[in-house]
């Protein structure tokens, strides 16, 4: 057989985005309303409640003794119900990071106009088991000076602005 230019030529018709947006071809628009209220459950529920208090809490596996963050009601590796609650530090080290010039909609940031790139990172939290990290933003640091293993600390929102969310931590910033 072999698949040739001729075979695929008529399988799909190329359009430019403008041909669609300007109505050169017919189309239908739709905006679905896809809304949810997800039950937090005891593990994430407590995690959020503690964030509101300015603390980070983890769960310890009674079997492998891993200190797990975000907390969970069971250890997914040992397959046992998780043990005690453990407070961990609001400091950690940068495991890996990026310097992003785009947002979640793939829109480019106005870097030349002075907008700071996003610098999200995986941060290994002190007090949790080695390698246990969370995703969060870094700030108060030159994006190009971030390095692997850099020590960082959470910058919290003022207590009265905290709502019980991961965004109660504004970002992490480097410490000595």
């Amino acid at each position: 057989m072999a698949i040739t230019e001729k075979d695929v030529a008529k399988t799909a018709t190329k359009l430019s985005i403008n041909e669609i947006l300007e109505g050169k071809v017919l189309s239908v628009k739709w905006e679905p309303k896809l809304k949810y209220a997800w039950d937090n459950g005891p593990a994430i529920g407590r995690y959020l409640a503690e964030l509101k208090e300015g603390r980070i809490i983890a769960k310890k596996c009674a079997k492998c003794h891993r200190i797990m963050i975000p907390p969970r009601m069971f250890c997914e590796l040992c397959w046992v119900p998780a043990g005690e609650w453990v407070y961990v530090q609001d400091t950690g080290i940068v495991n890996t990071w990026v310097v992003s010039y785009v947002d979640w909609k793939a829109t480019r940031l106005d870097i030349k106009g002075g907008v700071r790139p996003f610098t999200p990172a995986v941060i290994e939290i002190d007090g949790a088991s080695k390698g246990m990290g969370i995703l969060h933003h870094l700030n108060e640091v030159d994006p190009w000076k971030i390095s692997r293993g850099m020590k960082v600390k959470a910058v919290w929102k003022p207590a009265k602005e905290r709502t019980g969310a991961i965004t109660d931590i504004k970002y992490f910033k480097p410490i000595e």
Partner: protein, 382 residues
């Protein structure tokens, strides 16, 4: 088929309208813990896992990401079927027959209560170009199907109402079911019309819950369980998805899925050879339509049989002894899982007050809901 496959463990949370105290992770964890405990296994003994989910019903664009942890399937073979639980059960069986392994786990979970815009989500399944611009409720599709079914078969709205009465009554004796009630036909017939002839009470309310099933190849099954429940036949089928060309009176998908399962099980006369059935009753008329499609009743017979009590637990062919979707709740992808669960309970003699006497062969059937024409059937024996 060279190998036989059995269900050696089932676990469930039960089914309630809401489950606010646990997340989807903990819900599945509970069902999995029970299933593994019953089968006497640990996740490390499992050769592969199959989960079921549909993205928009979980609220994730890629919902399958969240399948492994709460099943103990981290770094194990696992995949997701955006289909009915019985589809996934067939996958488990096929993997055993293929030689992938001897022990398989199948999971289904519903957090329907977490979907705030459920009606819009179901409407979002309609064809975007020809159907959705009308902005009609998905229940209009059910209303039209019901109207055509009544027209073609001479079934009455009263007979459909009897299905609701029966299933909600059966659910009262099923501790796992959350929507049981004692009502009469008039209550159904006088309830608010949603899309004529479909009333509010003809529609099953939704529910949350999880089911996990452990499957094993014959030799392993006999070692793990005193009461293995064997998969004798399984079938699944999709008719045309188009609203414009489908056959509105008949459930062809259920017919063809059942024929596939009957053939595998060597069943020629389903009415005689099947002791009881768990049939998809997401809407009241669906139970009757499905019974006729699967040759358990002749065309036009399911309504009168129901009216005369033939599908009661004490009847000639008990249908939905668990209470069905109408009595236990619509669980979306998990619907087939709850049906399988009930058939297993009955065949093991563990169905409590709803236990049907002397049963050896049961059938579980499911349908993927509006606007689909996809159905699944499994025949189980003890």
């Amino acid at each position: 088929m060279s190998k036989r496959v059995a269900i050696v463990g089932v676990g469930t949370t039960g089914f309630r309208a809401t489950t606010p105290d646990v997340s989807y992770r903990e819900l599945t964890y509970e069902a999995a813990t029970k299933a593994y405990f019953e089968a006497g296994i640990e996740p490390k003994n499992v050769d592969a896992f199959v989960a079921t989910s549909e993205d928009f019903l979980e609220g994730y664009s890629i919902s399958d990401e969240y399948s492994p942890d709460q099943l103990g399937a981290v770094l194990k073979p696992i995949y997701t079927i955006p289909g009915d639980f019985i589809h996934a059960l067939a996958c488990g069986q096929m993997m055993i027959l293929s030689g992938i392994g001897d022990i398989m786990v199948v999971q289904g979970m519903s957090k329907a209560s977490n979907m705030l815009t459920l009606s819009e989500m179901v409407a979002f399944a309609q064809d975007p170009i020809y159907n959705r611009p009308l902005k009609e409720s998905p229940h209009a599709v059910a209303g039209m199907e019901m109207a055509r079914f009544l027209y073609e078969t001479g079934t009455t709205r009263e007979q459909c109402a009897k299905v609701v009465v029966k299933n909600k009554k059966n659910a009262l004796n099923n501790p796992l079911a959350g929507h049981g009630a004692l009502i009469d036909s008039d209550y159904v017939l006088n309830s608010e019309v949603v899309s004529f002839p479909l009333t509010q009470m003809d529609i099953s309310p939704h529910a949350d819950g999880a089911v996990v099933v452990v499957l094993a190849e014959e030799k392993t099954a006999r070692a793990l369980s005193d009461k293995p429940v064997w998969i004798r036949g399984i079938g699944w089928c999709s008719d045309t998805p188009g609203l414009e060309t489908r056959n509105w009176g008949e459930a062809i998908y259920a017919q063809l899925a059942a024929e596939m399962a009957y053939k595998m099980a060597g069943i020629r006369y389903p009415r005689k050879e099947i002791d009881f059935a768990e049939i998809n009753d997401e809407f009241s008329y669906k139970e009757l339509q499905h019974l006729e499609a699967m040759r358990i009743c002749r065309k036009g017979e399911a309504g009168p049989l129901t009216e005369m009590g033939g599908t009661e637990i004490s009847g000639e062919i008990p249908v939905n002894p668990s209470g069905g979707c109408l009595g236990a709740g619509n669980l979306f992808e998990l619907n087939g899982g709850r049906k399988v669960l009930e058939v297993v309970r009955q065949l093991r003699g563990e169905a409590g007050k709803n236990q049907i006497k002397n049963v050896t062969t049961g059938l579980a059937q499911s349908w993927r809901g509006i606007p689909t024409t996809t159905g699944t059937v499994v025949i189980l024996s003890n």
